[in-house]
């Protein structure tokens, strides 16, 4: 079994090397996106030119209530996708589906309004922030930790008020998220499941709450980037010093973030500006600002080859949501497709050729 896995890893490594060196080969990219106000998840395929909805999967179990699918993630082996369902009575849940067939495998109740999902390759656990959008904005919430083989909630870690933007360190040993209403970056040990460190993310610790909404670690450097949504900033946090070492002044409402695997580009969704920013992390400069096809830009997922960013855009009212594809080499929007209303959580699944 171990030997088989090793061979698989070598093959994956070679395949990955191929992706990195042969950028002209034809690829199909598959992405899942959740439509929060339509209780559905769409599977999209992009062939480098055309973006299409391959399948729409109805989610939730109450046909006459809106249950609010929000966060998505895919297991490291690509075999399963996980979805947070925000609304419950009162608790939300995380649901496990098989990729490809999209059959429901199992679900587990978690905290109030679960949102962003992270999965650690190192621990095998899933971490979901309980955003508690419904509560008074003074109530402390938590991060639920789920053992994914049996879908059992093994811990609920108190974190802060309205935690959001769950992401793992590259080695899978640390979990980072932002507490929106306490204005903090929170680091959790992914194994001990304890909060290790907290850091105010505003440029002025005594100033107004910057309302951080997302955290994304750098793939190779000891840095995390925090979207200070209300302050229109990206805070750059040095993990070794545990201090903010830079602030990027941004467009209105930076919301979700992702970084290209080479660590060179930071992709920022501007929820308040209906656009997506592409930042050069070495220069700390915004290279491009690309308008999105709907008014409320939401999530970002960068492909493993670093060629494209898939961006979800919610729309307003009865408008459908949309997913836009941005070519990160030309910094242009190259494809778009309509999906369900309030398109939010988005995650890359796989590449095929």
């Amino acid at each position: 079994m171990i030997r088989k896995n090793l061979i698989h890893v070598i093959l994956l490594g070679l395949a990955g090397w191929s992706f990195l060196t042969n950028t002209v080969s034809a690829q199909d990219y598959y992405v899942y996106v959740a439509a929060e106000s339509d209780d559905e998840v769409a599977l999209l395929r992009f062939d480098g030119t055309n973006l299409e909805v391959v399948k729409t999967i109805e989610v939730g179990t109450w046909p006459n209530e809106i249950e609010g699918p929000h966060g998505l993630n895919v297991s490291p082996d690509g075999e399963f996708w996980y979805l947070s369902i925000a609304h419950g009575f009162p608790y939300g849940k995380v649901v496990k589906y098989k990729t490809g067939s999209d059959e429901l495998v199992q679900e587990v109740e978690v905290g109030l309004f679960p949102a962003t999902i992270a999965i650690s390759e190192a621990t095998g656990f899933l971490y979901v922030v309980n955003f508690n959008l419904h509560g008074r904005m003074t109530e402390e919430s938590s991060v639920s930790v789920i053992e994914t083989e049996t879908m059992t909630e093994i811990e609920r870690i108190p974190q802060g008020i309205m935690p959001h933007g769950s992401r793992m360190s590259p080695d899978g040993l640390m979990h980072y998220s932002a507490s929106m209403m306490t204005g903090e970056l929170v680091e959790i040990d992914a194994i001990t499941l304890e909060v290790v460190r907290r850091l105010k993310t505003g440029s002025d610790p005594e100033g107004p709450n910057p309302k951080p909404t997302w955290v994304t670690p750098h793939p190779t450097k000891p840095l995390v980037f925090v979207a200070n949504n209300a302050a229109n900033q990206i805070a750059v946090v040095d993990l070794e010093k545990w201090e903010i070492v830079d602030h990027y002044e941004t467009n209105k409402g930076p919301y979700n973030l992702d970084i290209t695997p080479d660590g060179k580009l930071l992709i920022v969704s501007y929820k308040g500006a209906a656009s997506t920013g592409v930042w050069d992390l070495e220069k700390g400069e915004e290279l491009a600002l690309i308008p999105n096809s709907r008014a409320v830009t939401h999530g970002v997922a960068v492909t493993p080859d670093g060629r494209y960013a898939f961006v979800s855009a919610e729309g307003v009212g009865g408008e459908p949501g949309a997913v836009d594809v941005i070519d990160l080499s030309t910094k242009e929007l190259v494809a778009s497709v309509d999906v369900g209303k309030q398109a939010g959580g988005i995650i890359f699944w796989k590449m095929t050729e």
Binding site: I2, R3, N5, L6, V9, I10, L11, L12, G13, L14, A15, G16, W17, S18, L20, E36, S37, D38, T61, W62, P63, N64, E65, I66, V74, S75, G78, F89, P90, F113, E121, A122, T123, L133, H134, G135, R136, E147, T150, T152, E153, E155, I191, L193, P261, D262, P304, G306, E314, G315, V316, G317, G318, K341, Q342, W349, K350, M351, T352, E353
Partner: protein
Amino acid sequence: MHSFISRHSPSVLIFMVLLTPLAVSAQDATISIVVDRTEITLNVNQTTRLSAKVLDASGRETDIQTRFYSRSRTSVAVSRDGEVKALKSGTYSIFVRASSPEGQRITEEIRVDVLYPPIESVTFTSAPEQVYVGTRVPLNPEVRDVSGQLRDDVDVHISIDNPSVATVDAFGHIVAHETGSVTITGQAEEATSYVIITVIPNPITDLNLSGGALEARTGDVIQYSAVARNAEGEPVQDAPVRYAVYAQPDDDLGASASAQIDQDGRFVAETPGLYTIVASTGKLSTESSIRITPRDAARQIELVGKGIVSDVHTSDLWVWEGVDGRDYAVTGTWRANGEAYFWDVTNPASPTIIDTVAVDARTVNDVKVSEDGSVCVISREGASNRRNGLVILNCTDPHNVTTYATYDEDLTGGVHNIFIYDHHIYALSAGRRYDIISIEDPTNPHLVGSFELESVGHSIHDVWVVDGIAYSSNWGDGVYMVDVGNGVEGGSPSNPVVIGHYVYPSGWNHAAIPYRSKDTGKFYVIAADEVSINGKMGGWVHFVDFTDPKNPKEVARYEVPEAGSHNLWIDGDRLYIAYYQGGLRVVDISGDLMGDLYKQGREVAHYFSNDANGHVPNAAMAWGPQVFKGNVFFSDMNSGLWIVKVQGDAVPDSAL
């Protein structure tokens, strides 16, 4: 070639490619976890420490760390280093996990049995000191453990020392045979209790059954009263009397059980036929028969008009007489575009949309209008800026509705349901509580009070206010009656005070509305379920007798098989139910209520709101009803606004 790469792979791939030669030898090594115990047994609150070590392929201990986790953390807690504490009785699982430097992840499970606390007592809760020869009395043993919890999972062995005087049957009744004294022993585990019962001569010489009737209809609750007397003709007050019924239904072609009698003597039948009520005590019994006829409740129902909404789903409605004397309705939209439609329904045969209000939302789930017809409030869910809350509208002129104010303080997560009562809005904050907002000045709404339960995992779905009492529907916490100005408990909008509450086991409580029966004086809260069963709406309507609000009792139900209850309205002695795929249902709730009103033929009418041009064609999905000026208005999720009228003419039997 068909290749595959996972989301997180590129950086890992570079790493793996570089390390491949090292990875080969490392991954060949298999590690394993050895735990000192794989099964442990604890008492509640007892602690123990587990230890584990990781061995390499050759069985040598490594320095790889292990970590423990509980699969039932609220029942058995474990620290990462293996300190276990039992919190709740039952069988649970802990697992210990380790990962090799090469990423091999291994897990071992530990079974944890947490013993139930020992039994402390057995009590015969209904054992009398004396019983009469020839009678049978329940003993009702009650078992408690040392933690004080009632236990129904423990066998109780009952023995009796003098079986010629009395015996105990298989169901825990003492059966008295002759005079004498017996000691009854109850044993559960190690706990034992005794009760001494004296069997005395039976003085009862006569049993008389009064009340009842010669004839009644299905669904009529008929009271019987059996009185036992001694030889002197005096009532024997403590005589144990049992009631039973046997039936000869008119339809004897495989008919099911068709009637019931409560042990307080109340009888009700579901189907026509001849029924005989039997009262017995000891060896005496007496009977009385009653002819049950069809209730004849069914009435014709006719379509008056409809306003089909084809492009979106419809939600709730409200109908009112405008300040100009004309009649209007407002309907919301669901999973749609944030619109609310204002209708002129003065001519109910031709409802006409006269204005549309669009707000930033996907769902306008609820719509309500103030008593004077000047203020309309609509709720918002799915706002693009996630600040949902309420929109307060000036509907003095429903042709030109304008906005007084928006209000979203602490309501940003979405408002599902609202009610207006006496210049206040009762607004649900996304399923946790209701806030009470003054709109005495509708341009300046402000919070004056709030009501939220304190139970773990509490949740709320709806609130309805009548006579200063708010009736909230709280899913698993059931129905709450709260004084918000009635005065019975000194409550007010700024100081809501609980009057009473009732929980039913399913946890499906979705809507509630009060009803006082003019016939009986009884006060009910009628509660409707909402539930999805395998993706299809289900549930029924519960009738809870709240005459004594401190001791409510569920007495009846109305359950349409294979459909799902939703919203309610009461007018006179009729209940109007939007029964989702079961359409509109009209039910006769006059008189005393007991049993299943659906099976008793109390349904007055039903109407399936199917329309070929509906948003979902030909698929009734009734949402909410309202009786207004003799017509029944109701909204249908799939097709819009409907107006029907229940006629006075009975439906001929042949049509049923």
